[in-house]
Symmetry: C2
Subunit: 768 residues, 2 copies
């Protein structure tokens, strides 16, 4: 167990590494050459131009203004300067609400920290269990941090009532803050939705599992069905093509195009020698050929194939999947269709809000109902396996990757392996690296699982993945660190314990793990967040692309990777800090300041990032908030149960009845909040739909909605098909243009108030 001085040393190391990252960031961001890495958002919005286009040659790449280096922290006040309404207009509601999670962390934990240090620390410090413990139990290592924790209070002491009262105070404060925040976010969302400009998804419903009909095509069937059952509201529909093969071709072509650009550039720089390549995989083996000719030819062949496939998809009735986007004459009509059941067979004619066009996950639109059930069963089993048995395959690979087996498989490597340093590397680092590789792959694995489950929107995929990752972190990081051993062993142990024993087992080791988690917060939280702002990986990739692939200014824009918040991974991580803070608030208050620093620092960093860097792929209007709320409440209830277990080991079981109501009341609070707020995030109320419809009819009586919606939901590979010949990366470009248009629209919308103007809509239409 680390002592207070160990913690201080660790804090010093981590603070300075965080500081190092910040200084590196401050220097790098001032270099014009990195401008597109650190301010991509402004480029995407079209507000910032390449600094490389003006000035001297040196100034193009390096910033030589010394004064600017001195103010290396001035991004911090700058990040705070933008007011929230402008932030919403600039970065979207999703991002603005996302950073409110950190703010919520501060709101919850600042008063809790203050109260805990004012009440619990003195109570613990004067508990004087420590001296006794030291005398009686020499084998247990207690540090002076434990003098400040509940471990210092003797078993059965009356002092424990202070902790119980504080548990109530903390819970009430947390619930109060959560309720307030839920209310604020709900208001923000409703205001955002009310002020939103016209979007195709407001009028559109996604219909899945259209039953086959012998006499009619899918398109006719949909039209007849909605003409009959929504006669006053149906406007038009768009069928969905199964263009997965075509999509794969587009991706391949893009990669070929990249290689062609690479070799063309190479040839231009060195016109004496035509570059060559090999015909095999990744140019590693095979016949030597002229690279430029080879790739030009390949692209031509593929273009022809693609054209044929495009024709086939458009003309083959079998390429139409039994799903369609159905648009209505009014938002009211769409809201009605999305919320009601159409057929008495609930497995056909399933209607739900259409995701916005950018948000559609096209590959999953064709999955039939029964198959969905199978897929979800399978993935539930897989998630259980992943969470509780994830150490087993890793341990297996680790045993395979030891020195003896490597020597057996590659006898030639024997002399290399037997070198001292290589040997120690293999023995010491290889298992760790294998684990790390797995942890890096984990988000992809989880996302693939969500895709297999068959959700049809990217936002739904992210939400689902976040849930899975949250479970994984709770079991393998939180529980796994407290009870050492793999999760599978834990599970086996738990199964053989009484249910009342589990919280005790976990509870009793919580105070002992406080120092570990303090270190964890500093390493993962402080340094990790500082690394986030440095954007090392995008920086390297951008410069690589810049060096090899960029020819025109447009290519440079392509090379820019703005990235996004990565909801599926980052939100569950925040939840871990909430959980740690809530669990340790009554046990070891010393952990709390570290959590507060984490939230404050993250708030700053992410506010800077969403202003300058991230570019969200879609806008959901903060639909994720109920998940955030629910997970914090889960954390709160876990903290109650573990505290109960801890108190039971403290021979304070007569205090148990006082604590039992706490989780019950918390759960009830959760139900109340769910009833009070959640439907604002799940359904679109008719009153609001009607209001927007009426307003629109009054302000734009001439609007041709049919034209506006006609091509809104076309598979991306069919968009701008004619442009494919001209520019190969048109698909992504197209999407980004649209993004810019949307943002611009939003921004202007905000500035000009809620009144919409037709010129924006023209931009919207042309972008679509």
């Amino acid at each position: 167990m680390a002592s207070l001085s160990d913690i201080l040393v660790s804090a010093a190391i981590n603070s300075s590494s965080a500081l190092l990252f910040l200084v590196a960031f401050a220097i790098l961001r001032l270099q014009p050459i990195n401008d597109r890495v650190y301010f991509p958002k402004w480029y995407l919005k079209g507000i910032r131009d390449s600094p490389t286009s003006s000035g001297t040659a040196v100034k193009k790449y390096v910033n030589v203004d010394v004064k600017m280096y001195l103010k290396f922290l001035n991004w911090m006040p700058a990040a705070l300067r933008m007011p929230e309404p402008e932030l919403i207009a600039h970065a979207g509601l999703d991002s603005a609400v996302y950073i409110r999670i950190y703010l919520l962390g501060l709101k919850i934990f600042c008063p809790i920290t203050f109260l805990a240090f004012a009440v619990l620390v003195p109570v613990n410090y004067t508990g004087e269990n420590f001296e006794q413990m030291k005398e009686t139990m020499k084998d247990l290592t207690y540090s002076n941090i434990d003098k400040l924790s509940i471990s210092n209070v003797p078993s059965g002491s009356k002092r424990l009532f202070a902790h119980i009262v504080m548990a109530y105070a903390f819970t009430f404060w947390t619930c109060y803050a959560l309720y307030n925040e839920y209310m604020i976010v709900t208001k923000m969302r409703l205001h955002f939705l009310a002020a939103e400009r016209r979007r195709p998804d407001q009028f559109t419903v996604l219909v899945r599992n259209i039953p086959p009909d012998d006499d009619e095509s899918v398109s006719e069937h949909v039209e007849h069905f909605f003409c009959v059952n929504h006669p006053d509201h149906y406007l038009l529909h768009q069928v969905v093509y199964n263009a997965n093969a075509l999509g794969a071709m587009v991706v391949t072509k893009k990669s070929l195009q990249n290689w062609l650009t690479y070799y063309t550039n190479k040839f231009e720089r060195n016109p004496n020698k035509r570059p060559t390549t090999k015909t095999g995989f990744w140019g590693l083996w095979g016949k030597n050929v002229d690279a430029i000719d080879f790739y030009t030819e390949q692209i031509e062949t593929l273009t022809k194939k693609e054209e044929a496939e495009r024709e086939r998809v458009l003309n083959d009735p079998k390429a139409i999947v039994p799903a369609a986007f159905v648009s209505f004459k009014s938002r009211w009509g769409a809201a009605v269709c999305a919320q009601t059941q159409q057929s008495h067979n609930p497995t056909i004619w399933l209607t739900d809000w259409a995701p916005e066009p950018r948000d559609v996950y096209w590959d999953n639109l064709a999955i039939p109902f029964v198959e969905l059930n199978f897929r979800r069963l399978l993935m539930a089993v897989a998630l259980f396996g992943l969470t509780f048995c994830f150490m087993i395959p890793i341990a297996f690979v680790q045993t395979l990757a030891n020195i003896e087996s490597i020597q057996k498989v590659f006898p030639a490597l024997k002399p290399v392996i037997e070198m001292g340093s290589v040997k120690s590397f293999i023995q010491g680092y290889l298992p760790g690296i294998i684990l790390k590789i797995f942890l890096i792959l984990l988000p992809t694995i989880i996302m693939t699982m969500s895709k297999i489950e068959g959700y049809t929107a990217l936002s739904a995929l992210e939400t689902r993945s976040a849930g899975k990752y949250h479970l994984f972190l709770f079991v393998n990081v939180f529980l796994g660190s407290i009870i050492t051993g793999t999760a599978f062993q834990q599970l086996k142990e738990f199964m053989n314990q009484s249910p009342a024993e589990i919280p005790k087992t976990v509870g009793v080791s919580i105070p002992m793990k406080a120092t570990f988690f303090i270190t964890y917060v500093m390493v993962d939280g402080w340094s990790g967040i500082a690394a986030e702002i440095l954007r090392l990986v995008p920086l390297i990739i951008f410069h690589l692309k810049n060096a090899f692939l960029v020819k025109t200014e447009k290519d440079r824009e392509q090379a820019m990777d703005a990235g996004s918040l990565g909801w599926a991974i980052s939100e569950p991580r925040i939840q871990l800090y909430f959980l740690l803070g809530l669990v340790y608030s009554t046990v070891t208050p010393l952990l709390l300041p570290f959590i507060v620093v984490f939230f404050a620092f993250s708030y700053l960093v992410f506010r800077h990032q969403i202003i300058n860097v991230y570019d969200q792929k879609y806008e959901s209007g903060a639909t994720f908030w109920p998940d955030v709320h629910r997970r914090i409440i889960i954390g709160l209830m876990i903290s109650h149960i573990l505290f109960l277990g801890l108190l039971n080991t403290k021979k304070a079981s007569n205090a148990t009845p006082f604590l039992i109501p706490l989780p019950i009341l918390t759960f009830w609070f959760f139900r109340v909040c769910k009833g009070r707020f959640e439907s604002a995030f799940r359904r679109f109320p008719l009153v609001d739909a009607m209001r927007k419809d009426t307003l629109e009819r009054a302000t734009e009586p001439q609007l041709n909605l049919k034209l506006y919606l006609q091509d809104a939901y076309v598979h991306p590979v069919f968009k701008g098909a004619c442009e494919f010949e001209r520019r190969p990366m048109v698909e992504e470009e197209e999407e980004e243009n649209q993004l810019v248009a949307t943002r611009r629209g939003l921004h202007r919308d905000h500035v000009q108030g809620t009144q919409e103007d037709t010129s924006q809509d023209r931009i919207g239409i042309s972008a679509v």
Copy 2:
């Protein structure tokens, strides 16, 4: 432990008591004087007339035809004769589907019994554990029934795989039968709904939590809201008055009226002496007065008060609760409004399908949203207390009701108590009677809890109560009988056991309790069902009323109590038999024939009862089926878990992996069924609404829907207000007339096909 011969004796006793009930029933039902007790349904339908109105004096009361007594079981084939479509038309879909539960029991358990006797009984019988057991463990009492059960198979024997295979076979068969039945019931429901004649609830939505408005009354507010937000569909609305006080007055008046009738009858029979009564409570003390004058005066006072209250309620705007019944021009419009969210604040303007007028529970319409949350929290805690601690207050009352304390409180009773027979009665029977009284009160307690929870329809109240009673029976009858001791002790014990131990503890005692449950099935199932058909309590009450309160033929109709199925109590009881059958199917197959007999006998009896006796208060169209299905699946999963626990004690833990998939697959099956069928029971699809609307528009273009719906949802105390002077029991009468009309309508509907005729609707309107 009872031996096989004990079981046979018990079977003989119970069979003969059941037979006795049947003979008594056969004799009593043939007496014309009891005709209204045993055939009330036919009277309510207006098909049967009082037999007392014709024939000689003797024949009026006693049936003297000897031949009819000989065929005393001929009600059985008669009960089976009516075909199902006619049964639905005669008794409603609820009743027809209810008896299908028994049929489902037969479908599930007949093949299981056959298979279990063909495979498991031989395997068990030749297991020869019994002889060993007898030698090694003298203290455990094994009977020869155990030779046929799994107890006879030695631990760790390969024979146990037969049981595992059978567990799979039974589960698959049960799921297959459940799936089929769900499909059939869904079809029946959809067919029933499609063929249903016009009913007010098809066009009406119940709106609750209407927000207060300073400028408008509730009525105006509702009208404006729906005119704006459902402009093409809104037709009219009816506000709800808080008439609870008025309702209480009506009840009081009815009771006074009964007393008046009683004394008038008394005076008529004995005209020499005017009857007197005392003014105090129930006429027990107070001043002696002339009874007829006294009650006439009382009724007059109350009538005036009632009139004033009626005026107050109708004119005071505060008497209007913030709820309303809103009717639409089409079923489509109502379906849309019921299924969508109106306001973005989900605690106001809550819309849901209106229950049919007879089904409305008026008292709960005014409860605000936040209070509902509090009430449900409270009732959840209360249900937990009721289920797990219900023995505590009873034990407390039982200790109070011992001889010493009775002597202390009533010293005067001392000589009486000290008499030998009284003393032994108090000691031997009083605790049992207190328990029995509680068990009789239990349904009322549970129903009161559901009422406090705030449901607005009688059908919802029954559904909720059934859920609570099911939990109670499972914990206190099933678990309570297996692990002797009160449920609270069990809970404490379970909390201190590991989760894996619980199924073991229960599982190991299951085979030992087989004989107890066989006896239970015979006593509660066989004799209980035979007692049901005898209708002893309604018989006595009818004759009492007949003797004292009946003056006219109409009064006699009032005295008739047809009763109803009592869903809240009877369904959970059936579920107990399903649970027993499923749990013992692999353990002690000997129990199965008793279950099969129970289901067959119940099917007969209840088919007879719904044809001749019961008169359902409302018609829900079998909305309860998802509950039935869910509870059988719960029983199936409990049987899996207990079988797993049992096998673990049999040292067959290597068999565990083979059984683990069973509950998981069952749960998945449940999810599939839920997705596939449930929404047909919960929501009203737009396709069907549109089809009925279109048909109606085509066949009855002249229909004045406004007139039809105008007074459909008027609080019963306001119905026929003008008639109150003439006939005091108009309220109930009214309701019954309506029932008759509805049934008649349904019946004719069926006979004539789905084509509706206007004359029926005229009946419907005039009845309403």
